[in-house]
Symmetry: C2
Subunit: 224 residues, 2 copies
């Protein structure tokens, strides 16, 4: 099977199991919108580093934020090449052989250079970031002070060189000689469950759970 679209560059082309690869923008957006934590990698003196961080896709860009003083922010702001990867683990694939055993997952990888958002645009970009990460929360909380804004960098990466890998469904050995073995084969799905809101010990009496938090707590997949 050929991929549904072709790679935007040689270095994003997926060589292993190309039938699981996608390069179209709809697939890239879909996987980015499913995730929540990105791993951002960059190199300093040939040593790669890989840092987990929240992110938000806003239109054709991915936003991340961090302390202005952090090494990651400094290097990315200076234009060091980066790779941003988001991975969703969807479950176990239990085949009849060790070799075919694996996982169902989706991942998206973006290559490129981040750019730092200038001071004037920071409040709007931070709001857009938080609106994607925790919809409705920005309007409920105290907005950033001038000092907090200064301490926070917000960086964006254009979605240009992107690839998606997806594996779904049962193991691949139903039609193989292994299907004659007395071994169970199938899948176990892994989903996420959000707990009930737990108030902070210092929460003053009489303050109810805000609407955005109530919606978040209800956002576990159906049937949970």
């Amino acid at each position: 099977m050929e991929p549904a679209s072709s790679a935007p560059s040689t270095r994003t082309r997926i060589r292993r199991i190309p039938k699981n690869a996608r390069y179209d923008l709809a697939s890239v957006h879909r996987v980015l919108d499913r995730g929540r934590v990105a791993h951002v990698s960059f190199a300093e003196q040939c040593q790669p580093y890989c840092i987990p961080t929240l992110y938000a896709r806003v239109e054709d860009r991915v936003l991340i934020h961090g302390s202005s003083a952090s090494r990651m922010v400094k290097l990315l702001s200076a234009g060091h090449p980066a790779c941003l990867t988001v991975t969703l683990f969807d479950g176990w694939v239990l085949a009849r052989s060790a070799f075919e055993t694996g996982v169902n997952y989706e991942s998206v990888t973006l290559l490129g250079c981040f750019t730092a958002i200038g001071e004037a645009h920071k409040p709007a970009r931070l709001e857009a970031f938080m609106e994607k990460v925790l919809p409705g929360r920005w309007g409920e909380v105290r907005p950033p002070s001038r000092q907090e804004l200064k301490a926070t960098a917000i960086l964006e990466l254009a979605i240009a060189e992107a690839s998606v890998k997806t594996r779904t469904g049962p193991p691949d050995d139903d039609g193989s000689p292994d299907a004659e073995l007395e071994v169970w084969a199938g899948t176990i799905a892994v989903t996420e469950r959000l707990g009930d809101p737990v108030p902070s010990p210092g929460l003053h009496d009489g303050i109810g759970v805000d609407a955005s938090v109530r919606r978040l707590a209800r956002s576990s997949p159906p049937g949970e």
Copy 2:
């Protein structure tokens, strides 16, 4: 608060919020043993790449595997410096300000160079890998053929330069002026739930769910 232990190298020392940093082996092992997917980064011609992969901690090493033909395996086997990061997302931290809003999480980062396991030691290392990832499954499935072994590389990284970051508990603004705001503050935990085993469409009648699969499906956190 000072970290519980000191960084093994300048480049692993955590500069942001050092009170959340740990460098002792027990913490490193604990976080590695909680996780399942690692993000492995490496660079080629100054461009970093970051690939998700299953991994297993076995004693003082981390094992990964992959196709012998993959770019990652080739570069890592050739001794390119790597960074391996494992991140656990534990929940949302809903503070009263945008600035203090964040997540509870644990992550561990290892720096170093992988080494490829030679042919003679591959079967034992693959068994150790699978025994950690899916305990008991190795003994139930068909072991790798000679051809499958040849197609599979197994690489190991010594746990030497490692750091852990952990954030737990309620938001940090209980004792701040923000606590007077009429904003709810607290946490929402995020946990994982494993579904029931779903048989492969081609599973022959009369083959029951294997013991390792039954144990895996029951391994969701208590109360799920």
